[in-house]
Symmetry: C2
Subunit: 223 residues, 2 copies
């Protein structure tokens, strides 16, 4: 095979866009996500389709083949194990691990990842509460976290899962002391795309747009 890190990034992007948008992934989605022009995306999609890593229908959209998915799952495993290592042993913050892992995931060998997993004690979730594919690239059982948008005002919850790939979202949450393990009270779930929460550490109200709150996973403490 022998895939370039750049081709790998396109595959990863398609994987995450499929998951996040829940609709066919279009050229423009990828072009926005990777900050390249659309002709660049078109030509890469041609080449990935050629290698049977994606199914690409011009003007319609693209999705990963099984081979493409397998490639991505190995990258996701590398990524999340690296993040775990960085946080647990090198004392990085949850908001700093992603960028480093996003680069290294392309370069560590499968042997490295196997040994790192052993060193870390075969963890099942990463520092952001995301699941780590096992050595056969199967995802472990789905985590039972509930999106923040599903709670009622007054509920007290513990944050278990935070979106962290978008630097703006990540920095906003980090700045307002909302991260994995944060306990907070849901204050208001407004109908104008806003959820307001009060972290117990700061006691200061924080407003979250729905698209962010929807991606924060939490476990109930008291109703």
């Amino acid at each position: 095979m022998d895939l370039s890190p750049i081709a790998e990034d396109y595959l990863k992007t398609i994987y995450h866009l499929e998951d996040e948008n829940g609709r066919p992934v279009r050229t423009g989605d990828i072009s926005t996500a990777l900050d390249v022009t659309s002709p660049t995306v078109t030509s890469m999609l041609d080449s990935l389709d050629e290698r049977e890593l994606v199914d690409y229908t011009p003007y319609k959209g693209v999705e990963l083949t099984d081979r493409g998915t397998e490639t991505v799952l190995q990258l996701v495993r590398n990524h999340r194990l690296l993040e775990t290592f960085l946080m647990e042993h090198l004392d990085y913050s949850w908001s700093a691990v992603h960028d480093e892992a996003d680069c290294l995931e392309h370069y560590v060998s499968d042997e490295f990842t196997r040994r790192l997993a052993t060193f870390l004690g075969e963890p099942v979730t990463d520092p952001h509460g995301d699941l780590i594919p096992d050595s056969d690239l199967k995802m472990p059982e789905k985590s039972p976290y509930t999106a923040l948008t599903e709670y009622e005002p007054g509920d007290t919850v513990t944050v278990e899962q935070v979106p962290h790939r978008d630097p703006d979202v990540r920095d906003y949450l980090s700045r307002h002391r909302i991260g994995p393990g944060t306990q907070l009270v849901v204050d208001e779930v407004s109908s104008i795309d806003l959820v307001t929460v009060v972290p117990s550490t700061t006691e200061t109200s924080v407003a979250l747009p729905t698209h962010v709150a929807r991606r924060i996973g939490a476990r109930v403490v008291t109703k």
Copy 2:
């Protein structure tokens, strides 16, 4: 700056060739070491000279500038700390760490390396007995190891430093159970470019060409 991993590899190669050959580094040396053709080397040397990372005189040779050396020392620090981590925490053998580190050294951030050094306890030598530049990129004091070629027949020594970049040399030593920490008796220092040694673990005589023995560092146990 923003140097490609490939440009970094040329600089590293020049650094090691300067050290090993003790004469001006020529186009052909680099072309052999990196397994690329000489026109390729010529064009890269033009470009490195342009960026003031090397001093290149066509038809004569090339050497690193201070800026070039600094770049290399950061890579060497990354490399040797990674090797130390792989061996001490991921249970790699001394002969397996190099290839993994040789790739990753280009992608870990300075922040990563700083934190890794702290995690490892600021080590001064790597698993092959080579010195690790400190965070200011100064090399620690020279190790007092003596080349195997300097000993007399009958001397018992402990191996402290092994050449490991050349896969053939590395595999030969590894196969004959000669590595860091190996105790051995010098059997014969022949005038035909051969040193014969007997590792105490195997009791089997091993022949080493001078160019290999010269690069093995050892400490005397008994004379």
